[in-house]
């Protein structure tokens, strides 16, 4: 790897390369996922209602809170810096570590999506080969890590181009085809539209889906990790939040509806994936030759999404290490300012988990528990962010914030409160076990909470053992 850095805190990022567009694209890459569209299209018109719930209880609050925090404290570490300001190092480090560690469990699923979509572009049956799947997953994972290795400039260019080609263009293509379908007079498989049809069914059976919907828009804080490389953070962050939120909502809602009006619900069966839906869609539109190119584009979109989640929290951990909160071995940066040690450790752990994921496919309780853990860890992150934006209005009222959540104190309580309400509720329903598990509900809940605790607690251990020698000479305090 590259030469070890020895700079001060902030040396991870000494080039201001990010403008408004790049910031917005980082968020779009992290949040906009074509992978979600068929799963949501199954709900027909009521997917609109589910998206509205996700927007009210999460997307809007996190966008506003992120904009205020990013402009008030445009520091390295993103979530870490924001929560640290409000609740100290323990809070900040815990929030960041939860965001990082939940990725380790999530990476194999997105890598598997990338590999199976790529297989679809070549020969769908390749997805049955564990060797093929693992090879593609590792190429995607280590390739993305390599891009991160070359620093912000390279990863930004890759992200900007990739998110347009791999996420936005495919989404727009699906929307255009949906419009064409409507204009052609072809049959619409959804029942006639009504306001009532948009209202989702809320019942005990659908409660767990609430947690899914809330976290559909997770990742809106991702641009905050790149504050040190941003040219004009105080003016660009709020605009980037707004632009990215609009792109994400428009693409997500319209593309989901386009799929829902064209593909019968029984063809969107939940065992099939995005490409099966796309294949049906394009075949119905008489352009089946577009399926393979579309698979390649969506593969790229998956890689870009992976890159956004892989690079952001790793950069945050790099800042934590620079500040002397982790042993110096974590504080290795290269000449491009990339946190190579964190990236390599992350890639090694992710590779090991992916290995089991591919070669030990199962539907047992362990997978449910792991999936629940990712939800719980992310909820901890967001509760801390929403709590931080409220707390900082009291503890640091005079800190200049070029963007403030409108409405004064009532406004920040309302926005932060909605976010806390949504994520806390998601945390609670995320603990609900499937009804058919043979183990008791308490054992399931205990397992999820224990796993969540294990993946959240290392920061407290690191801070307890913190050694002055961990802080490099000339480093930040």
């Amino acid at each position: 790897m590259g030469e070890a850095g020895s700079g001060t805190a902030g040396s991870l990022s000494n080039k201001k390369v990010l403008g408004l567009f790049a910031l917005a694209m980082i968020n779009v890459a992290a949040v906009l996922s074509i992978r979600n569209f068929p799963s949501m299209a199954v709900y027909g018109w009521s997917c609109i209602g589910w998206y509205v719930i996700g927007a009210i209880f999460f997307l809007i609050p996190i966008s506003l809170a992120g904009a205020e925090l990013a402009t008030g404290w445009p520091e390295g570490g993103g979530v870490y810096a924001w929560v640290k300001q409000a609740f100290g190092e323990k809070g900040g480090f815990t929030a960041l570590f939860c965001e990082w560690s939940n990725n380790l469990v999530w990476f194999p699923t997105v890598l598997s999506f990338i590999a199976s979509t790529f297989a679809f572009a070549l020969t769908p049956s390749l997805a049955s080969s564990g060797i093929f799947m693992f090879t593609v997953m590792m190429v995607a994972f280590w390739g993305t890590t390599a891009i991160a290795y070359f620093g912000e400039e390279v990863s930004t260019k890759f992200g900007n181009i990739g998110v347009i080609i791999g996420s936005i263009i495919p989404s727009l293509l699906i929307i255009v085809l949906g419009v064409w379908w409507l204009g052609s007079g072809a049959a619409i498989v959804l029942p006639p539209f009504s306001i009532g049809a948009m209202v989702p069914t809320i019942s005990l059976a659908t409660l767990p889906f609430f947690a899914t919907v809330i976290l559909l828009f997770a990742g809106m804080e991702m641009a905050g990790f790149h504050a040190l490389e941003t040219k004009n953070p105080q003016t660009d962050f709020p605009k980037a939040m707004g632009i990215s939120a609009i792109i994400i909502v428009v693409c997500t809602v319209l593309a989901t509806l386009a799929i829902a009006i064209v593909i019968p619900a029984d063809q969107l069966n939940l065992a099939s994936g995005v490409m099966q839906a796309i294949q049906y869609f394009f075949t119905a539109a008489h352009i089946p030759w577009m399926v393979a190119p579309m698979a390649l584009l969506i593969t790229l979109g998956g890689v870009v999404s992976l890159a956004a989640w892989l690079i952001g929290p790793a950069k945050g951990l790099g800042v934590v290490a620079e500040e002397g909160n982790m042993p110096p071995i974590f504080d290795r940066t290269n000449k491009y300012g990339a946190p190579v040690a964190v990236l390599v450790i992350q890639a090694l752990i992710g590779s090991a988990i992916s290995l089991l994921y591919v070669f030990l496919p199962s539907v047992n309780q362990a997978y449910w528990i792991l999936s629940a853990m990712t939800v719980e860890l992310l909820c901890i992150v967001y509760v801390l962010i929403f709590a931080a934006v409220i707390k900082l209005r009291y503890s640091q009222p005079d800190t200049p914030r070029p963007f403030r959540i409108p409405g004064g104190m009532p406004g920040v309580w309302f926005v932060g409160g909605l976010g806390i309400l949504g994520t806390t509720f998601a945390f609670i329903v995320g603990l609900m076990p499937p009804t058919y598990f043979q183990t008791s509900g308490m054992a399931y809940v205990g397992s999820v909470l224990l796993g969540t605790f294990l993946l959240a607690v290392p920061p407290l251990v690191f801070l307890h053992l913190k050694n002055p020698a961990w802080l490099k000479k000339g480093g930040a305090s």
Partner: protein, 146 residues
């Protein structure tokens, strides 16, 4: 460059152990799902045995490599809620396992995949939506068979 001490290395190992805890969980509980031929319609037999009436049955073929067809049963439970149970046979264990991976990879966002998936030898059984009361009855049996 700052020298690396033994406690530092211990902390790195600690981080690895913690982060690898999920792997330990999988390794301890995740045995490979057995593959065996399935004859007849075990899900229908199970529904009949439980006295659950089926309101509609159709043939179905999932658009997945190696899928060879199955049945989709629609049932209405005591609360008048509709549940769809779809079965699918696969040519090989590899094709079935690929379908399981695909299901795991298609959860919306960070959430769990939609529906509930069970494995009966060469057959996958998908019950949707999740957490319907009928799952308590069917799920325990299907889990036990797995």
């Amino acid at each position: 460059m700052t020298s690396v001490t033994k406690p530092d290395i211990a902390l790195v190992i600690f981080l690895f152990v913690i982060a690898l805890a999920p792997i330990g969980l999988l390794a301890l509980t995740g045995t490979h799902v057995p593959w065996y031929p399935v004859s007849g319609e075990p899900v229908r037999e199970l529904l009949d045995a439980e006295g659950i009436s089926i309101v509609n049955t159709t043939d179905t073929l999932w658009n997945l490599p190696g899928a060879t067809g199955g049945r989709t049963y629609v049932i209405i439970d005591r609360d008048n809620d509709q549940t769809v149970i779809s079965t699918q046979n696969f040519e090989t264990a590899e094709a079935r396992d690929a379908a399981i991976r695909s299901w795991h990879a298609h959860g919306a966002g960070r959430g769990k995949p939609a529906g509930s998936l069970f494995v009966l030898g060469q057959q996958l059984v998908m019950i949707s939506p999740s957490d319907r009361p009928v799952l308590e009855t069917l799920g325990a049996t299907l889990n036990g068979d797995r």
